[in-house]
């Protein structure tokens, strides 16, 4: 696995030292909050509803067992014994105390982790397909490129004060699991006519107040030109982005207002200026990084034990059917560990669970772990013969819920249980939906379905690209939940459509139940997924199910 350079180490350590002094000066009163706030945000420290929150970057969602154990230690020593994995492949601690934060950052630095650039108008944590380096459908592991971008963007002097925050996502597979079309820059690996791998470059996607699907500015970019090209995009954005209006400052608005042709021309122009000066300076570095991301030495062993167990044990079979994905090595599987036990908080893991996952990765998973934007944890390389043992250990730790990709595998942002910006709660809505459909014993019958919940218009819960999206709002001092349908975050990305008026807190779960009832009734066959049914029939049958009962009441 990739290991930080001495430069990274020195940089992170000096930042910790700097921030420790800043905290001291804040506490003794020599810094005001106005002075201190930008400094703490630069180091990932937010002030939320009930406490501070520390956001720690997990670059491209890749983490090793040693780091995972350190997160467990931090959770136990300075927090409430758990951590929250987010849709940006970060981890958040919800209860740190200000005087303890320097010690936490120092403990993170001990395992090559930090909270730098997890806030502010800079290039944020670069996210990647959580199956990177393992997926059967992958062209190449996209993480070396993500790492190159991380090194290039960290403390980049030109891009520390962009018009607004900037998010980059990368995938090496045609099946997009990294929501690349909803990022400021999305990089999707493709092959050119000659069969060489390169990137399709997508710009101007984003959710939030004005959801937009990104546009392709370059159909094929050779890998070696990636960095200068990304620099060209950022340079155009840095110059022309709308600094006058916070709500119009993201690159998606610039792309929208400038038009695809013109923005593409501007980027290409800038690129032509930069490229010759750039030379081949990253080629050697990229080769070095690629070597560090070489796949593990896969084990050759029989898999018939797995087949026998699969046929004999229905609980294991159900888990294997939902939580495993195809690995590039036929004898291996990708394991998704669900952090969505029915009724639990999506994305939360206790310190004990973190240690269990770290142990499993070490023992059976070539010491690799990934965090998915869907708030689950991945063991990317598990030999099939080890799956029964992995499952048994997960079951003991409350981590064997067989629901990945199903209705209870919900993305939910922290919402008004933690987030200072929230307009309504999202976690309890997720908990109640999961619990309800578990009681109904319907989720396997319903099949693949993505529900995504955000507690405000900022859309951290990706509700716009949920098959069913739920947005919590404050309507005249009461929590109100707006439903969107038909959203899709994959390579066929679309923003969901609003169904109509929202639902009160205690009406939202019954409303979802009516929606699902309608789907089960109108689907052409059990294999037709919710999204397919929606695409075939449109809003009408779902709208009827959502609002019909209300209409009858009105008429009565």
């Amino acid at each position: 696995m990739y290991s930080y350079t001495d430069f990274d180490e020195a940089f992170v350590r000096s930042r910790v030292a700097q921030f420790s002094q800043q905290v001291e000066r804040r506490i003794d009163g020599s810094l005001t909050e106005d002075e201190f706030k930008p400094l703490r945000l630069m180091n990932g420290l937010y002030l939320q509803l009930h406490a501070y929150m520390l956001r720690v970057a997990i670059p491209y969602g890749t983490i090793n067992p040693h780091q995972m154990r350190q997160l467990a230690m931090i959770a136990e020593t300075w927090d409430r014994g758990y951590g929250h994995f987010t849709t940006r492949q970060n981890i958040q601690f919800n209860w740190p105390k200000l005087p303890d934060v320097p010690a936490i950052l120092s403990a993170l630095a001990d395992v090559e982790m930090h909270a730098i650039q997890t806030s502010g108008n800079c290039v944020r944590n670069v996210t990647a397909d959580h199956f990177a380096g393992a997926a059967a459908d992958e062209i190449e592991d996209p993480r070396p490129i993500a790492e190159l971008l991380r090194q290039w963007s960290t403390d980049h002097p030109e891009f520390q004060f962009l018009p607004r925050k900037f998010k980059i996502a990368v995938t090496g597979s045609p099946n997009d699991r990294a929501v690349t079309k909803a990022h400021d820059i999305g990089l999707r690996m493709v092959r050119n006519g000659a069969g060489e791998p390169g990137f399709e470059v997508i710009v101007g996607g984003g959710l939030g107040r004005t959801p937009m699907i990104g546009r392709v500015v370059r159909e094929f970019l050779p890998k070696a030109e990636l960095l200068p090209y990304v620099e060209a995009i950022l340079s155009v954005y840095n110059q022309l982005g709308r600094r006058d209006n916070k709500y119009k400052a993201r690159i998606k608005i610039l792309v929208h207002e400038t038009g695809l042709d013109e923005i593409t021309a501007l980027i290409e122009q800038r690129f032509a200026e930069i490229l010759p000066v750039w030379g081949g300076q990253n080629d050697a570095l990229l080769a070095q990084i690629e070597a560090a991301f070489a796949p593990p030495a896969f084990r050759e062993a029989a898999t018939d034990g797995y087949d026998a167990f699969y046929n004999a044990d229905p609980v294991f079979r159900s888990w294997a059917d939902t939580n495993l994905a195809a690995h590039r090595h036929p004898d291996y599987a990708i394991v998704t560990i669900s952090l969505k036990a029915h009724g639990a908080t999506p994305g939360d893991a206790t310190a004990d669970q973190m240690r269990t996952m770290a142990d499993l990765a070490e023992r059976y998973g070539h010491s690799e772990l990934r965090i998915s934007h869907e708030q689950n944890v991945i063991l990317p390389h598990v030999h099939k013969s080890d799956l029964p043992a992995v499952h048994a250990t997960l079951a003991q730790a409350g981590l064997a819920t067989a629901n990945v990709g199903l209705i209870s595998d919900i993305i939910a942002c922290p919402g008004m249980d933690y987030c200072a910006l929230a307009t309504a709660r999202s976690i309890p809505v997720a908990q109640q939906i999961a619990t309800r459909f578990d009681e109904l014993k319907l989720e396997h019958e319903i099949g693949p379905l993505k529900i995504k919940i955000s507690g405000c218009i900022n859309a951290c819960g990706h509700h716009h690209v949920g098959h069913i999206g739920i947005l919590g709002l404050d309507r005249a001092g009461v929590e109100n939940y707006q439903i969107t349908l038909g959203g899709d975050g994959t390579e066929t990305a679309v923003v969901g459509e609003k169904t109509g008026p929202g639902f009160a807190y205690d009406e939202i779960v019954p409303a979802i139940e009516r929606l699902i009832g309608a789907y089960l009734k109108v689907r052409a066959e059990p294999e037709e997924t919710f999204l397919e049914t929606y695409r075939r029939l449109g809003l009408a049958p779902f709208k009827a199910a959502l609002y019909e009962a209300e209409g009858q009441q009105d008429a009565a």
């Binding site: 009930h50 908080t345 404050d474």
Partner: protein, 101 residues
Amino acid sequence: MSRPYIPKVVTANALLEGDVVYLTADDRWSRQHHEAELIEDEAHAQMRLLHAAAQKSVIVGAYLADAKRGPDGPEPTHFREEFRTRGPSNYFHGKQEEAAQ
């Protein structure tokens, strides 16, 4: 006729722990909403807010929140403020936990 002033409390977060705090009539920062000073006059509210904001090494982000008179002291009127008096709904953490101890 001008609209009647909606009573307020001054609230903030404690600098060190980040915990929600309320300004009392005798100039303390209480962790409990019902101990807050209920302010029923706009000019007085602005004075109290200035007074609070000046305490920069004790609290962060002071603001005025709507409140109403209750049997045991001021009560929040908006759900956000109500959550702030309690803590999150997914775990028994924060003020609700302290209150139970």
